[in-house]
């Protein structure tokens, strides 16, 4: 046996103090009796029969001296060297994604995972340390490295499942960083394995133990929901939904569509095994509101049985064309449906009165604050053209970009273009060997489409791709507000031109206070609950919907193995124990004996005088 703090032996100097206390006169209760002769004989007889006569009055002293000696002994922190289990660094990752709410195991997957994790905590030895990560849409370090089992149990007990999809990749990468350059590390993953992004992770030398949770069961889930204006019937909305059956049995369920609290459609859907079914509802809409789709299915996972989408009543787009005269452009703009166009020869900033501004080969005195289609002109803050290029050939364009959908530059010739290098935030969409001819991008919430040549100096206005591009540009420069996001994604929207406070009510009724950025943009990240969120700012209110809509989460069959990278597979396993040489301290046991002595002394004292 060795001692970690032998200097604590100086506390042994307190032992004589206890003896001194005993030498002091004890305060006794005076009692008049008829005669002390019986008491004297009683004391003589008891003392005579006592095996340790010298200690006859001092059993309490003996107990207290032993107690103090034990306490000093514990303070020296004695330890035994030997082969013992322990000294591990454990990272426990607890999956708290939506699929962990599944009730295919009783009471839920999360409860089972917590029970497994609790067992792991109980198996820890004195010097083992554990980090607890909660992996949902984002990974949260819920408990920094500690050996305190009580703290770990408390944190584990507080873990709640979110409505978000799993991103185990972040959690595993974090675990890899935490365990780097450490000896005897273990990473325990308590999950159902519903995280396809793990395939991007290379296992390397990570000691990963996968604790499989759940088994699998019947589940119908909504995996997509979208609302669009009916292409043929004005005033009608088409609601597109996809219901997936992830089980191996054919399932059927009633599907109800609500607008607000009003039922607008109900039908029965039957989905084949591991198949999907598409649903289209047509509903009239006069005001802004929320369409809510509900599956009346009592399956293993409830969170994917509901989805909501915000639908705004359609209004006309307002645009300002500043031109010295371009009939092709003006006609192309006017051909776009639901567009109110104003044409000016000189630019004055209309502010929020228009949705975007088209600058056709004019240089404004002040650059517009909103979205801009800049033709053969640019803000001086971006770049200065270094000259012009004659007859630049079009060598490439990005047809995948929304601006260039269905746009073809095969038969477009440009006579003259600006030689310029757009800023980094702009993406070149049409390029010539010398310089980009068309670029687009977003800077500080302001979308800009830049055309580096005057269309009148090209054959483009004569091609069918020109009005298509203009129509695409109108759509791109006037995007619908993105009012429906996935769980865990941040919500952002420009609300005003200046900073202001916003109150957001979450689906569970709780509220969060936040502020917009200095440019009036709202960025809200606490979107881990599925449902309708309500943001109030000033006298205005705004709704946005947060949905799971994740087929991986709806696929609740628990994975028996995890595919990590291209070559590695981790099978579901039971906990492995590590043998290691450690020094095991004994002070806890001594402290426990001390406690026993205190209790015994208490009992003994009261037994003597009661």
């Amino acid at each position: 046996m060795n001692f970690l703090t032998p200097e604590a032996l100086v506390f042994a100097a307190t032992l004589p103090v206890v003896v001194v206390f005993y030498l002091l006169k004890r305060r006794r209760v005076a009692r008049l009796v008829s005669s002390t002769i019986l008491w004297q004989r009683f004391l003589n007889e008891t003392q005579a029969s006592s095996p340790f006569q010298k200690l006859r009055h001092n059993w309490l002293l003996v107990i207290q001296l032993v107690l103090l000696a034990l306490a000093v002994f514990a303070l020296t922190r004695p330890y035994f060297a030997g082969n013992l289990e322990g000294s591990r660094f454990i990272v426990a990752i607890l999956d708290v994604s939506a699929s962990m709410q599944a009730t295919d195991v009783s009471p839920s997957r999360l409860a089972q995972a917590k029970a497994e994790a609790a067992k792991l905590i109980e198996s820890m030895h004195d010097r083992d340390r554990m980090v607890l990560l909660l992996a949902g849409a984002v990974t949260e370090v819920r408990q920094s490295p500690t050996s305190a089992k009580a703290a770990l149990r408390s944190v584990l007990g507080q873990a709640r499942a979110t409505d978000s999809p799993t991103h185990l990749l972040d959690a595993v990468k974090l675990a890899q960083n935490l365990t780097r350059n450490r000896a005897r590390t273990e990473v325990h993953l308590f999950s159902d394995g519903a995280s396809p992004d793990l395939e991007e992770f290379e296992l390397q030398d990570l000691n990963l133990v996968y604790h499989r949770v759940g088994e699998g069961g019947d589940n119908l889930g909504i995996v997509s929901l979208e609302v669009r204006p009916h292409p043929e019937q004005a005033g009608q909305q088409a609601i597109f939904a996809t219901v997936a059956n992830t089980s191996t049995n054919s399932l059927s369920s009633d599907v109800s569509l609500f607008f607000g609290e009003r039922l607008v459609g109900n039908r029965r859907v039957r989905v084949g095994a591991t198949n999907t079914a598409s649903l289209v509802f047509i509903a009239s809409q006069n005001t802004n509101g929320v369409f809510r789709l509900e599956l009346k299915s009592s399956d293993a996972l409830a969170v994917d049985n509901t989805a909501s989408v915000l639908s705004l009543a359609r209004r006309n787009t307002r645009a300002l064309l500043v031109t010295r005269g371009n009939s092709f452009l003006e006609r192309a703009l006017r051909s776009v449906s639901k567009l109110d166009l104003d044409v000016e020869a000189k630019f004055t900033d209309p502010g929020a009165a228009v949705d975007f501004v088209v600058l056709d080969d004019v240089v404004p005195s002040a650059w517009p604050s909103g979205n801009v289609l800049a033709i053969h002109t640019q803000s001086t803050n971006w770049f200065q053209p270094s000259g012009s290029i004659d007859g630049p050939p079009i060598v490439d364009w990005k047809s995948t970009h929304p601006l260039l959908r269905f746009v073809n530059f095969d038969n477009v010739q440009v006579a003259k273009a600006l030689a310029a290098k757009p800023p980094a935030w702009m993406t070149p969409l049409v390029e010539s060997p010398a310089a980009p001819l068309l670029a687009a991008g977003e800077n500080n919430g302001q979308r800009t489409v830049w055309i580096g040549f005057n269309p009148l100096d090209s054959t483009w206005p004569m091609r069918v791709s020109f009005p298509i591009f203009i129509a695409n540009a109108v759509d791109w420069l006037n995007p619908d507000a993105r009012t429906s996001i996935r769980v865990g994604e941040p919500f952002h929207m420009r609300l005003a031109s200046e900073e202001q406070s916003v109150t957001i009510e979450l689906p569970d009724g709780s509220t969060r206070e936040t502020r917009t950025t200095t440019t009036g943009e709202l960025i809200f990240g606490d979107t881990f609950q599925q449902g309708v969120y309500s943001a109030t700012f000033g006298t205005n209110a705004l709704l946005f919907c947060v949905n799971l809509l994740n087929s991986d989460e709806s696929r609740i069959r628990s994975r028996e193995s995890l595919q990590l990278g291209e070559y590695s597979t981790v099978e579901a396993t039971v906990e492995a124990k590590v043998q290691a040489n450690v020094d095991k301290e004994a002070w806890r046991w001594i402290a426990l004996i001390c406690l026993g002595f205190i209790l015994f002394e208490w009992w003994f004292y009261h037994r003597r005088t009661a």
């Binding site: 009692r31 009796v33 008829s34 002769i37 019986l38 037994r607 003597r608």
Partner: protein
């Protein structure tokens, strides 16, 4: 009188008679048989006539047959001296029912039985305070049943005071009462100096001794626990003791040993011994225990 003994108990006591194993050696006339020859109806012996003898006591029938003169001798009946040693020390005042009150009741009962039997009763209270000397005189040599009322009144006036010296009191009593009789000792026998010498002296005089040890329930089974400093009521001596329920058994054994030693001492000297709690019913002690112990019948 009523305060000491109830009329009902007095009636029961009237039917009792003090037992004395030995013949009375008193000089005074009484109703007890004695070894002396005198005038009574009990024939004892013959002896030869010598000139000067009372002619009325000659047995003429024998003279007729033998032609010799013989005198008829009869047993003389004498009184029985009964001495009651009553412990009136401070320690006797303890107890829920005071030990001294209990001892006075027993004294009254023994005295009443003796007075009813035409015996001479003397009560020797000890220690004797200065204000009690005349009272003690009233309690000496009491005779006759008619004196019982006065006897009880004087008994009731006795008080406890001072420190007892049992040995000295018994020795003095033995010297004072030379005619052996019945001696009754009523005490707690809790004397640091002991009781042996006194009892021996009393027994040496040929007295028939009855020892009644009276202890209070608190002495037999204390109910005060904790770290105590017990103070002797007579001597003021202090004794520190830590006492709890778990030591009660040991204490009981101590008391039992003390009483057994006294009992053994008495038995070895032919002394009747009785232990009584002060809360015992007086009827039980007088009519059962003391009757069984040979005090009276």
């Amino acid at each position: 009188m009523a305060a000491l003994i109830s009329p009902h108990l007095l009636k029961r006591l009237e039917q009792l008679q003090l037992l004395a194993r030995r013949r009375s050696k008193s000089t005074a006339k009484g109703e007890r048989r004695s070894g002396a020859r005198g005038q009574s109806v009990e024939f004892a012996d013959y002896r030869n006539y010598v000139p000067g003898d009372d002619l009325r006591r000659i047995d003429w029938n024998i003279y007729g047959r033998l032609d010799r003169l013989f005198l008829k001798l009869y047993e003389e009946e004498r009184e029985l001296p009964v001495t009651i040693f009553l412990d009136a020390s401070e320690s006797m005042s303890f107890g829920q029912v005071s030990k001294f009150d209990f001892a006075r009741q027993v004294t009254a009962a023994v005295g009443y039985v003796a007075l009813c039997g035409f015996d001479r009763v003397t009560v020797e209270p000890f220690p004797l305070g200065d204000d009690q000397v005349s009272l003690a005189g009233e309690l000496r040599q009491v005779r006759g049943r008619k004196s019982s009322i006065r006897f009880f009144e004087n008994l009731a006036k006795l008080k406890v005071a001072g420190t007892a010296d049992l040995n000295q009191a018994l020795r003095r009593g033995a010297m004072k009462h030379r005619a052996p009789g019945v001696s009754v000792i009523l005490s707690d026998f809790l004397d640091p100096a002991g009781y042996e010498e006194g009892i021996k002296a009393l027994a040496h005089r040929g007295s028939e001794i009855h020892a009644v040890q009276i202890l209070s329930p608190e002495e037999l089974e204390p109910s005060t626990y904790g770290d105590l400093k017990v103070i002797d009521s007579e001597t003021g001596a202090e004794q520190e003791v830590t006492f709890g329920k778990y030591r009660l058994k040991t204490y009981r054994a101590t008391v039992q040993n003390y009483c057994l030693r006294l009992q053994e001492f008495c038995r070895s000297r032919g002394i009747c011994y009785q232990l009584s709690r002060s809360d015992t019913l007086i009827d039980d002690l007088l009519l059962k225990a003391m009757r069984t112990g040979g005090m009276w019948r």
